[in-house]
């Protein structure tokens, strides 16, 4: 999405009066307590909006860009965020997270979600240790097997690490609808705490099997690519935010899309990615205020289909 478009749109909606009843419109922030959900395996509560780092945090060694991402992370924590997700597949993202964590003030709430993405046990162990050093954390809160790669090998390692207290939770991920059959099989047979896949107001296939299964098995759900890497939100931005979005404290399309996702009973957390502070503030606006009920979710989905 172009930088100008998203900001201009919020202004234009305000000028049309479509969202004039919304609180704190300037920053798109609703009031009230932070929305949290429990991790089923322990009951630990985490904020429903996390931070993804695919593409957006892969900025190499450029100091200016790294500092800009640190500012995004600072805003994330300032607004009540906790879970940050990354992977060795994301280029320099892990190093950039570590750069940010070393410089920001209130990182105490960090819930670190790393991934292992390689073949072979020994390489996986080495990769996870390298990731830990990049992040600069004592241990990961959550370690996930990325895209099911060599999962039958890594699941053994992760179970050992969890038993030894070297990681608090273990999980497995996919995205964009890939390998859902394999993921379902793992969810049915393995003692995992978390699962991650793509879900949004348009791509709702996971409502049929994976989300109900996660609820049944007591597995926390992280939703990735909530904006279809920008494609979905760009499409939505061509249309006015419905005035009834104010009923669930949404001041912009980002909040509309995120609240649809986190209001699903089986979803624990969503991890939108951004490289911009103002977009982060918009996203974090979905961390407060009212969530849609089932009836409102249906209305949101029908509206999204029409645009």
């Amino acid at each position: 999405m172009s930088d100008l478009t998203r900001r201009t749109f919020v202004g234009s909606v305000a000028s049309l009066g479509a969202t004039t009843t919304l609180p704190a419109l300037g920053q798109g922030l609703a009031s009230g307590p932070i929305l949290k959900k429990a991790i089923p395996s322990t009951g630990e509560q985490i904020p429903v909006i996390g931070l993804g780092t695919w593409i957006t945090f892969n900025v190499g060694g450029n100091e200016k860009l790294r500092a800009a991402r640190a500012q995004v992370m600072q805003t994330f924590f300032d607004r009540g965020g906790s879970l940050i997700d990354s992977s060795p597949m994301y280029g320099s993202s892990e190093a950039v997270i570590g750069y940010g964590l070393a410089r920001i003030r209130n990182k105490g709430a960090l819930f670190s979600a790393g991934k292992v993405w390689t073949l072979l046990k020994a390489v996986g162990v080495s990769q996870m240790e390298a990731s830990r050093k990049y992040w600069g954390v004592e241990r990961f809160d959550l370690m996930q097997i990325h895209n099911l790669l060599d999962w039958s090998t890594h699941i053994v390692t992760l179970k050992e690490m969890k038993a030894q207290g070297r990681v608090r939770y273990i999980g497995i991920t996919t995205s964009q609808g890939w390998r859902h059959d394999g993921l379902e099989q793992i969810m049915r047979t393995q003692p995992i705490d978390f699962v991650a896949f793509s879900y949004n107001v348009i791509d709702r296939e996971v409502e049929e099997r994976l989300l109900p299964l996660a609820a049944e098995r007591g597995i926390a759900v992280i939703v990735n690519r909530p904006f279809q890497e920008g494609v979905l939100i760009e499409r939505m931005m061509r249309h006015p935010l419905p005035s009834w979005a104010g009923e669930i404290d949404c001041a912009n399309w980002a909040q509309f899309l995120l609240k649809f996702i986190v209001s699903h009973p089986a979803v624990t957390c969503v991890i939108p990615a951004t490289r911009r502070v103002d977009h982060m503030e918009e996203n974090m606006g979905a961390l407060r205020g009212r969530l849609p009920d089932a009836k409102m979710r249906g209305r949101m989905a029908r509206y999204a289909e029409t645009v």
Binding site: W54, N58, G60, K64, G91, S92
Partner: protein, 216 residues
Amino acid sequence: MRSFPFTADVYFSLFETYNSAIWPAQLVAYGLGIVALVLAVRPLAAGARIVLAMLSAFWLWNGIAYHLMYFFQINFAALGFAVLFALQGVLFAAMAIGGRRDFRFQPDLIGWSGVLFCLFALVGYPLLGWIAGHGWPRAAAFGLAPAPTAIFTFGVLMMLEGRVPLYLAVIPLLWSLAGGSAAVFLLRVPEDWSLLLGGIVGFGLLVWKRRQQSTS
């Protein structure tokens, strides 16, 4: 979906960091490129060895310095590219040491195309990049960045005397297709249309040259 691990802005910021770190190697590379073109067009004794050694140096530098030390920071696939570029450098080095090839410029379609490819790599490619907003220090420098190096290599191979060893053009072609298509279609880098099309046209001309010499 835009599933590519980095943005165009990050890609060019990487060039900015890289160019700052290796300065003034760019001036040396340009000097070597001009010498290589002159030696390919007007051969001297041992000139072929010098040209091939320069190509070897360019490809090895791209593999180790650019791909492995810099591009790998943002793209895990750069590790594979580093191996392929280094292999290309070794192939040119082996041919230079073997010393059995010469250059002979022929004023025909292939010969002039070779000169055109080389001049484009030296002048045209950076000019297109500058027009597209990717001027210095965010430019892909000749000899030290893959795109102009691959285009230049096709040009030099067109001026090689006798049957063209096509194996020397396989890795440049692979880079043109893989790197060119990613840059054009995923990162929207307009100047890399020349890499994509140059690779296809360049390889086609080399195949044609080889067939001409087989039948003559």
